[in-house]
């Protein structure tokens, strides 16, 4: 399993403590100076809700607050691995990150369409929902494509004995991520047994983005939607299309965060 960068792991441990000095958090982050530009770029992005680009980590922390900063650090920590190509899934460099970004945006649009406020925890979990593909990718390289009428998890189960949702949960546990985040990722394919709604949001958002080909990979858009989840969110065809329209617009505006972008 890929390790979490040491600076990120240390920072997340500090942020998880009830009382922590800001200076200690900043020192932990600055122990890896190569990471700072990436964190500031995320922190300054309109996608993250920022209206001004912070000049330094102290300003970023002040702008976001501890809770949102924790989530940004978790995403920034995963970005180096999420940008890697995953040949077993037919994903080129940056495609998994771009898909994760689009799904995160879609979770927000689903909530807005339902008249609800954006949920930062759902946004964060969406960024990390497919980290399990990083673990299963090499096992899948030798595996034939799933049969035409089945979803990609059949091939995952054959090759590795688990699907990427479970693999992702195991990786997040290895990274000592909080239990709600582990559960959200573990349940995003089958959210019905889960007691909270973040997996629902990720399930729908994932389907929305895959349906237009964002992060489709070798399995294309062979993905099954749970009808119960769709009913729970009271989606109609028109509301779904509105969500998709706004997601793609926001995704396009987040061009500076995209890594793969349009294939050349």
């Amino acid at each position: 399993m890929p390790p979490l960068p040491a600076a990120a792991a240390r920072t997340l441990r500090l942020l998880d403590q009830p009382h922590v000095e800001i200076a200690k958090i900043i020192r932990a982050m600055e122990s890896d100076p190569t990471w700072t530009p990436q964190v500031l770029r995320l922190a300054g992005s309109s996608v993250w809700g920022s209206i001004a680009s912070p000049e330094n980590l102290t300003e970023a922390l002040g702008q976001l607050g501890l809770r949102r900063f924790y989530q940004l650090v978790a995403v920034a920590a995963a970005q180096p691995v999420l940008r890697e190509p995953v040949p077993g899934y037919g994903l080129a460099e940056g495609e998994l990150w771009d898909h994760s970004l689009a799904v995160a945006i879609a979770t927000r649009e689903i909530l807005l369409e339902n008249g609800l406020r954006p949920c930062e925890e759902a946004f964060t979990a969406a960024f990390l929902h497919d980290v399990g593909k990083l673990i299963l990718g090499s096992a899948l390289e030798a595996e034939p494509l799933a049969e035409a009428e089945t979803t990609g998890d059949r091939a995952e189960l054959r090759a590795a004995g688990m699907d990427h949702a479970e693999a992702g949960a195991l990786l997040l546990e290895h990274w000592n991520m909080p239990p709600w985040l582990v559960t959200a990722v573990r349940s995003h394919h089958d959210p019905l047994d889960c007691s909270f709604l973040i997996p629902d949001l990720i399930h729908l958002a994932d389907a929305i983005c895959l349906s237009v080909g964002v992060g489709a990979g070798r399995d294309g858009i062979r993905h099954r939607i749970s009808p119960t989840v769709a009913v729970r969110w009271n989606l109609s065809r028109r509301s779904l299309e509105r969500i998709l329209s706004r997601t793609i617009d926001t995704f396009a505006e987040a061009g500076d965060l995209m890594i793969h972008g349009e294939r050349r």
């Binding site: 035409a148 099954r224 989606l235 329209s245």
Partner: protein
Amino acid sequence: MMAIRTHVGREGLRTVGISEMRISQVKGEVLATYSLGSCVALSLYDPVIGAAGLIHCMLPQASIDPEKARRTPAMFVDAGVQTLLDRISAMGSSRRSLIAKVVGGANVFDDRGMFRIGERNYATLRKVLWKNEILIAAEDVGGTKARTMYVSVATGRVILRSGTDQVEL
């Protein structure tokens, strides 16, 4: 690598992104659009005026957001395809000489049908083309494949890629 691209350097490749359209009369160019899932792409080629057009539409009907359709008609099949046809006509193309090819319109597995946007995109596209008296010369639509489409401006040839598979349409 595909036959069209071996004749064109990277400088000749023109990407048409999601919700975009492009018409070219530059013979050295290849129009390309990537990762079509439920979206539909329409290529138009007029050998008389030597023009090729390509559009990548995401949603079937502009009525869900008329203001957006005014700004970005190519997002919607009905508004976008009509705009593409009007623009290529304005360049001197006649309906009779246009060769139309369609790619995309895939669907995720959805028993309730709500997520079958690809089907709705394709159905709307057929209606718009029918209204404009244009027949589809070739197509590769439906299923669950993610497709990429290349159109040669010089010849009008269309190459379709999906995964490692590549065919001429």
